[in-house]
Each structure stands twice: as structure tokens, then as C-alpha cells.
């Protein structure tokens, strides 16, 4: 039996799956049906989150009628960024760690990072912790729209913007497992919006779901859904904003093509998904045709696993 953990700023989800190294999509979907989730605990000592994960794993084992030691592998798809302490991955995310975000965020703790890999390894022999962009990428490569493509990216356009990257068949991790944080690349000088990372004017500050809310509420658009609905109805201001968002997002995709010589992008996430037919051609237009020697044949497609691609991330890490 294998255990899969999704660790996010809002909730933690755990599921067990009984599958070999060639987990099928059916097995993965069945595992998701028995998934249990809880809000992420944020009060107490810094190991609170890790203790919560361990308790949820123990409860899942009990519910499945197995012993904890029958869990042969644990895959964790976690929000980032990560820091590494004593060779072990810790999570340093501003939605969890009050000490990073500052008092304005109102988190009931002063954590700067929370341990994750070390406490899991004390209990389980085979542990793999990856950032959630990597998990989702691996899911798309295994069951979705990136199967058989050696150089590719999964893009989540959601409350935040994240990437999972694969070049020459190798999934990119980087020195601390933080590869794919390209939502924090600078792509423009056109706005001075502050990002959660503390910088001004990066991609996430300009185009993420929470940025759309913040930036355009005063123009009457409460969020991405309201904005894109108005744009679809032909409202000129909403169309202009949409085109600008796609220009910025498309620049980031183009930048990844020039940097990594990618073949295909698969895009998911809440901001994108419900308006994918409307947004996809606008994003494609920002990538294709520019510098043809690099962009010829590049494909920009919707995620094969649809709205649930993130849910499959941890499963892909143990499959």
C-alpha cells in the first residue's frame, strides 16, 4: 500500500492506493474517492503540520484495515517554497508560516518554516516530497496531456501561478526542489502590484487569481470569473484587461520556450479552466510565431486531467 499526501495552505488531503509501479488512471481515480481532507492546522509549535499529516496517515491506515508499517511509500505533493535543513525539506510558505508573512496576514503562529520530510522519514522508509507543480506535472505526464513528451511544462493558473518543468525526460527539481516557481519571474514593468513573495510586478502579482481580484475590483470585476464573463460578453474594458493578462502569461510561456526549448504546455487551474476555450487561443498567440526557430511546433493545450490535475499530483509521485 502507498500513501499520498496533498499539503496546501488551506487543506491537507490523504489517500491510500494499492498499486504497483504502473498505477492506472482507474486506480488513481479510485484512490481519490477515499481521500480524506482537513483544514491545515496553523496553531502551535512548528511541527504541528507534520504531526497532523502523521495522524491523518495513521487514521487512513486504520480505516483501510492495514498497519502503518504496511505503507511502503509516501508521496507528498506540497505547496512551496521549500528550504532544506539538515538535508531535509521544510515548507516555507506564506499561507502557512506567520513568521514569513508578517502580522498583516493574521496567521496564528510565528513559524518561518515547518518540518516535513524529517518527521515523515522517522516513521516511513520511502518518502518523496515534491512541490505541487512537480506533482501535477508528473500526473499530466503519466495520465494527462504530457504523455510521451520529453520537454514540457504543466502550468497552473489559479489563485497563484505555478509550474512543473520537464526537459529531456528529466523532471526538474533544483537545489532545494523549488524549480518551477516561475510565477515569480519578472516579465514586465507595467504594474507596481505587490506579490505575496515581497517583490513587485512579477507574473503572479500581475495575473494570478488573487491578483485579478485585487487589481480590478475597483473597475467592477470581483474576480476572474466576473472579468472573463464580461469579456466574453464583449465588454471592451474587460476584453482589454483579459488581453493584457494573456500577454503577460503568454510572455512567461514564451520565456520558458526560449529558456528550456519546450515542446508542449499543459494548462490547468481555476482561473484558466472555466474559460479555457476563450483563453487558450490568446495564450497561443503570445507564443507562436515569435522567433520561429524556437517556437515552431510548440503546443499549448488544456490539461488532460482537467480540473482535478492537482489532486492526482501526490498519486503520480508514488506511481
Amino acid at each position: 500500500m502507498k500513501a499520498c499526501v496533498d499539503l496546501g495552505g488551506t487543506k491537507i488531503a490523504v489517500s491510500l492506493v494499492d498499486a504497483g509501479p504502473e498505477m492506472s488512471l482507474e486506480q488513481a481515480m479510485s484512490a481519490l474517492q477515499s481521500r480524506r481532507s482537513e483544514p491545515t492546522e496553523k496553531s502551535g509549535p512548528p511541527d504541528t503540520v507534520a504531526r497532523q499529516v502523521l495522524r491523518m496517515l495513521a487514521q487512513a491506515a486504520q480505516a483501510a484495515g492495514i498497519r502503518e508499517q504496511d505503507i511502503e511509500a509516501v508521496g507528498v505533493s506540497s505547496c512551496g517554497p521549500f528550504v532544506v535543513t539538515g538535508g531535509m525539506t521544510e515548507v516555507s510558505n506564506p499561507n502557512i508560516c506567520g513568521g514569513m508573512a508578517g502580522p498583516a496576514r493574521g496567521l496564528p503562529n510565528d513559524w518561518v518554516s515547518v518540518p516535513l520530510e524529517a518527521p515523515l522519514r522517522q516513521r516511513f522508509a520511502n518518502v518523496r516530497v515534491e512541490n505541487d507543480g512537480v506533482g501535477a506535472l508528473q500526473a499530466e505526464r503519466r495520465w494527462g496531456a504530457l504523455q510521451g513528451v520529453g520537454s514540457c511544462a504543466y502550468v497552473t493558473w489559479s489563485t497563484g501561478i505555478g509550474f512543473g518543468l520537464c526537459v529531456d525526460g528529466n523532471i526538474l527539481r533544483g537545489k532545494h526542489g523549488n524549480a518551477g516557481h516561475a510565477g515569480h519571474t519578472f516579465v514586465s514593468d507595467s504594474d507596481d502590484t505587490l506579490c505575496g513573495c515581497g517583490n513587485v510586478g512579477d507574473l503572479e502579482a500581475l495575473a494570478a487569481g488573487n491578483a485579478i481580484e485585487r487589481r480590478f475590483a475597483s473597475q467592477g470585476y470581483a474576480g476572474a470569473t466576473a472579468l472573463f464573463t464580461a469579456a466574453r460578453a464583449g465588454e471592451p474594458a474587460a476584453l482589454a484587461i483579459t488581453d493584457e493578462l494573456c500577454r503577460v502569461m503568454g510572455r512567461a510561456l514564451y520565456n520558458l520556450v526560449t529558456t528550456l526549448d519546450l515542446q508542449r504546455f499543459s494548462i490547468g487551474g481555476g482561473v484558466f479552466w472555466n474559460n479555457r476555450d476563450f483563453l487558450l487561443p490568446r495564450l497561443q498567440a503570445q507564443v507562436l510565431g515569435k522567433f520561429p526557430a524556437l517556437t515552431a511546433g510548440v503546443e499549448v493545450v488544456a490539461a488532460g486531467l482537467g480540473e482535478r490535475v492537482g489532486d492526482f499530483g501526490a498519486l503520480a509521485l508514488v506511481s
Copy 2:
């Protein structure tokens, strides 16, 4: 015996080296001493360049008193970008191919790409063609400032701007071997300067050596050397331009850290090298301190192989 070819828009250089898989820096330096170079031929049919390379290899073998079939491996470090035709790498570079660059460039041919890998493989069994950023990166990893670093980049800040990228110990190639063309990433909206790639406002258009010449000649700076000399002397306008160039270049380095979670950059190239003590702290300031979870501990250093790092590129490909 192994053969090394540097193919650039201006010249082609060929050398032979008699070394095993663990070529030492001394062997590499000795091989460079016997290197022969010629201007790149640009008139005739599209296979002109490949025929020139083959002739130079034959002449090098003859001069060394060996038969061509004693050349067991050929490494080519070539300007890009590449296109792939029938599985074989061709060079599609606007300094060589008149059909790409348009009549304004005045090249005496209408080539769109020139064959390279295919004609070499007809003559030699073991051929490796990489873009020159990859060659230089491999040289820095083998003999220079990137030894033992799994996630790193070599940056050439010269007439153009190019990168070689390595993540988790794997050198990145991408679908056609064009990974590392991050000189063509968009990092700013602050200028509408046209790049040789046809786009407006990418890094190379803003900060490459030829861009510095074009952009600031009217302000009295004939090129990078004149500009940095004035900046070193404390001339306010030159200092402001230098800071802006470093801001743009530093953004590109920061973007690579967030995208690839790199540990170290090694920088070389003519624009950088003669003013490295002056430019290095300015570049470091653009990377370090921003989003500490990603940038803490990142090193930005001068190339270990100095001005000659590019020369070692093809040697590193066969070592």
C-alpha cells in the same frame, strides 16, 4: 584522437586532442595551442559551411599525421538556434543564414538553415553537436567555476547574451538542443529596441554588447568599454545606464533562479569580463535578498576559465 569544432557566425576553429574521457585542463590548453581557424564561408550552396568544417578536419588530421578514420569522436560547439531536419541538427543563425536575416544584413546567400550534423555523421561515427552555451557550460563544469555544482548556469554577456543550463546534474538540451536561449526572454517593457530575433524588448535587445552600441552611441558611448570606463570614472549618465543594464541582466538571472532553483552562476563574455569587478556586485544585488527562500545562498561569480571559456566548449564536449 578527438576533434573539436567551434562554429560561429564569424569564424570556425578546429583542434585535435589526444585524451581519454578524463581530459585534463593542461591537455585542453595544449589542444587549443594547435587550433586553426578560418572565417566562416557564406557563399554557395547551403552545405558550404559543413563542407568547410569537413575540409578543416581533414587538414587538421593531415597536419597531425593521422588518418581521418583515427578521429574517434567529433564535438561541435555551434552558434544557434538549431532546427532539426530528419532527426539531424541544422544551424539556423541570422549571422550565417541570409534567408533568415533579410537583405538588410547583406549576407551573400539565401540560406534559411545549414546542415551540420548529417554531413558530419556521414564521415564520423561519433558526433556531438551542442549549442555554444552548452559547450561553455560543460567547460565550466569540467574545469572552471561550476565544478561539483548540480544546478547552475554559465552566462555569456558578450556581443549577444547566451546561457548554458544544468539542473540536478543534467545539462539541459530541450526538444532541438536550443535550451539556454534565455537571452531572448522578455524581462521588461522599458524599451522598444528591436532584437536580431525579430522581437522587441527582450534581454539581448536591451543589454547585449551590440545593443549597448546601438542604444547609447547617441549619448556618446561608442560601446560597452566606453560606457563602463565613463561609469567607473563616476560620470552620472554612464552610471545610470550601467545600473539599468545590470538591473535587466540581474532580472534574467533572478528569473532563472525562480524557474530552475539554481545554486551558482558563472559569468563570462567580452562585455562582462573586462569590467567584472565593477559589474559583479551590481548583478549580485539584483538576485540576492529577493524572495529569500529561493535566492538564499545563490552564488554569482566570474567564469573560472576567464576570457577563454568559449574556446574550451568544444573540448568539453568530447572530454
